[in-house]
């Protein structure tokens, strides 16, 4: 008797969580940094997954939102504000910007949001670089402190990693709750068949806007965590390249799958480390691999897993039917 799918999933999650908690003990500080980066990128990717995987829209602005969150937190915490407040403000600010961008863009058809977000990323980068009075331009903001959580200092690499993990856990739980709610059902309907969803009363425009704005807010949270992780914020990381990277994370992991962003971020953060020997070529491999993956299985890695499980299940069903037929003869 094969165990039910849910049980397998739950075991895997517990195992993964255990690995994540134990990991830093076998790693040097650079390895811990990469893991923390993975956690931060996963948060941004979870946000983007809402927009892409659930609402079916292409957003190329997630990097800009991460940037806004990072700068907001950097400015506030270096100015003496508590991290918790900076974190919240980063998310709310990005949610608002997302709403403002999405509202006009989603009133029209086609993938206009893609172009608006593309243009916004350009604008955001220019603001980060040019508005020196605010962002310190290319020199960036240094000395960003790591938060003190109820007396527990997260200054050390391992402590901050656990902090990132905790934030990721909370956000994942919130995302899970969202997806399980009636909103989640509406999102799935939106993704699978927007036409039918509309005819059932689902306000597709409103739900898409909410998904996008929430995704932007999560990007802001990711940025808020990024600032104390790297402890230095400059415009360079928040370019179109990062937006593309995040988008590919979501797609490679499997758009619309809850754990897609986790898997995708894993691939995106660790691949350059493993392919370090190929120097600049890894992006070429990555892009080529994405194209092949999409042609073969557009639902990403988790979609591939789903498909294999489905084939396996059908094989078992057929075997069972044959056995049953044989038994009755």
């Amino acid at each position: 008797m094969t165990p039910s799918r849910n049980v397998v999933e739950r075991v895997l999650i517990i195992l993964a969580a255990a690995v994540l908690v134990a990991a830093p003990f076998g790693l040097k500080s650079y390895g811990i940094y990469v893991l923390s980066l993975w956690a931060v990128m996963t948060i941004a990717a979870i946000g983007l997954n809402l927009t892409v995987g659930y609402a079916g829209q292409v957003s190329l602005a997630q990097a800009a939102f991460v940037g806004v969150g990072a700068y907001t937190t950097a400015l506030l915490t270096t100015g003496g504000w508590p991290f918790g407040l900076a974190f919240l403000l980063s998310g709310v600010l990005c949610f608002g910007i997302g709403w403002g961008l999405g509202y006009p863009a989603l009133r029209v058809q086609h993938h206009y949001l893609a172009f608006v977000t593309l243009a916004f990323t350009t604008l955001a980068y220019l603001i980060f670089r040019n508005e020196v009075w605010l962002t310190n331009g290319i020199s960036g903001i240094v000395g960003i402190p790591r938060p003190n959580v109820f007396g527990w200092s997260t200054a050390a690499a391992r402590d901050f990693y656990y902090f990132c993990l905790a934030v990721l856990a909370v956000i994942s739980a919130a995302a899970w709750w969202l997806v399980q709610s009636p909103w989640g059902r509406a999102f799935v309907a939106l993704r699978e068949n927007a036409l039918r969803a509309a005819s059932l009363g689902v306000d597709t425009r409103r739900y898409t806007l909410v998904a996008f704005a929430t995704g932007a807010g999560l990007g802001g949270f990711a940025g808020a965590l990024y600032a104390p992780l790297v402890q230095f914020v400059d415009p360079t990381p928040f370019s179109l390249g990062l937006s593309l990277n995040l988008l590919l994370m979501v797609i490679v992991g499997g758009a619309g799958y809850f754990f897609g962003p986790f898997v995708g971020a894993l691939v995106a953060v660790f691949l350059p480390e493993w392919l370090r020997f190929t120097e600049g070529f890894y992006l070429i491999f990555y892009a080529a691999a994405v194209m092949v993956l999409l042609a073969f299985c557009p639902t990403g890695l988790l979609g591939l897993v789903d498909r294999m499980l489905e084939m396996h299940r059908r094989k078992l069903d057929r075997a069972a039917t044959v056995a049953a037929n044989g038994a009755t003869r």
Partner: protein, 292 residues
């Protein structure tokens, strides 16, 4: 007054290039629902193909251009359609969009790794020099760009409206289903649009690279400009792409001159938002049928 005239010509010249790129983009969308996010990289690539022909195969410039064009038609036209677009269209528009994004990234990084990360000089078809008209100083480059672009677009329009193949392509762009019923070889027409796009981007590449130098990252700004031009003009019309391109070129040049040059790159965004808010079907577009 002379200043404005100069800016006007420069703006129209830039706009003409945007128009060339936007036309191809619009054609691809109309005939096969392809939103080609790699369009910017498509303009970046031919210059490098030509450079490779000159520096590696040691061909003379004019022959290198032909070689580059042939390679572009093959890679950005036929192969793009057969190997990337056709397999992906089955899965829907979203996977195709992502695939073209990945393809653009692939082209950009390949050029960076296999050719050079540094900006490369590119020979111009037109000698450097200036014309003096009524006190305004106008570069020969800009005049040449305008003339070539006008000729190219004019030829394209003639082809589309006065030849049988051209009219068949128009029918396919308007309504592929009806075109199929009318007996038009729709698949072949779609292939032709891909080839035309490849030719247009090669031409745009030839015109713009001497000015900005050949760099792997050229695609970013050009791509964005092309998308915005197509939308501003009216996503479902070739005439719209032309109008949008010219308008964007003009706005771009005038704004850079009279407003902050630092935020020049953000101008497409403001134009786009303005159009979306006040005239979502674009300047020349028809009001779209709502599907949802």
């Amino acid at each position: 007054m002379a200043d404005i005239f100069q800016l006007l010509i420069a703006g129209l010249a830039t706009g003409a290039i945007y128009a060339l790129v936007a036309i191809g983009f619009t054609l691809l969308w109309q005939t096969s629902q392809t939103i080609n996010f790699a369009q910017g990289e498509f303009v970046m690539l031919p210059a490098f193909l030509i450079l490779a022909a000159m520096n590696i195969a040691e061909l003379p410039f004019w022959l290198a251009i032909l070689a580059g064009l042939a390679a572009a038609l093959l890679i950005l036209g036929a192969m793009f359609k057969k190997l990337l677009v056709d397999p992906m269209l089955r899965h829907g528009v979203l996977p195709l969009v992502i695939a073209t994004i990945a393809f653009g990234l692939f082209l950009k990084e390949s050029v960076k790794e296999f050719y050079s990360a540094e900006a490369q000089p590119f020979p111009s078809l037109v000698p450097a020099g200036n014309l003096s008209i009524a006190g305004a100083v106008i570069s020969l480059q800009d005049v040449a760009i305008l003339i070539v672009a006008v000729v190219a677009v004019g030829a394209l329009q003639l082809f589309l409206s006065h030849t049988r193949t051209g009219r068949a392509m128009q029918a396919t762009a308007q309504n592929p289903t009806v075109a199929r019923i009318l007996g038009i070889a729709v698949e072949r027409m779609i292939l032709y649009t891909f080839l035309i796009n490849a030719a247009l981007v090669t031409l745009a590449s030839l015109l713009i690279t001497p000015v900005y130098l050949a760099k792997f990252s050229n695609g970013e700004t050009l791509g964005l400009a092309a998308f915005i031009a197509a939308i501003v003009g009216g996503f479902n019309q070739v005439r719209g792409a032309i109008a949008g391109g010219l308008l964007l070129g003009l706005v771009d040049n005038f704004a850079a001159a009279y407003l902050s040059a630092q935020y020049r790159g953000a101008i497409p965004l403001f134009v786009l938002i303005a159009v979306i808010l006040f005239r979502p079907q674009g300047l020349l577009g028809r009001a779209e049928e709502r599907t949802v």
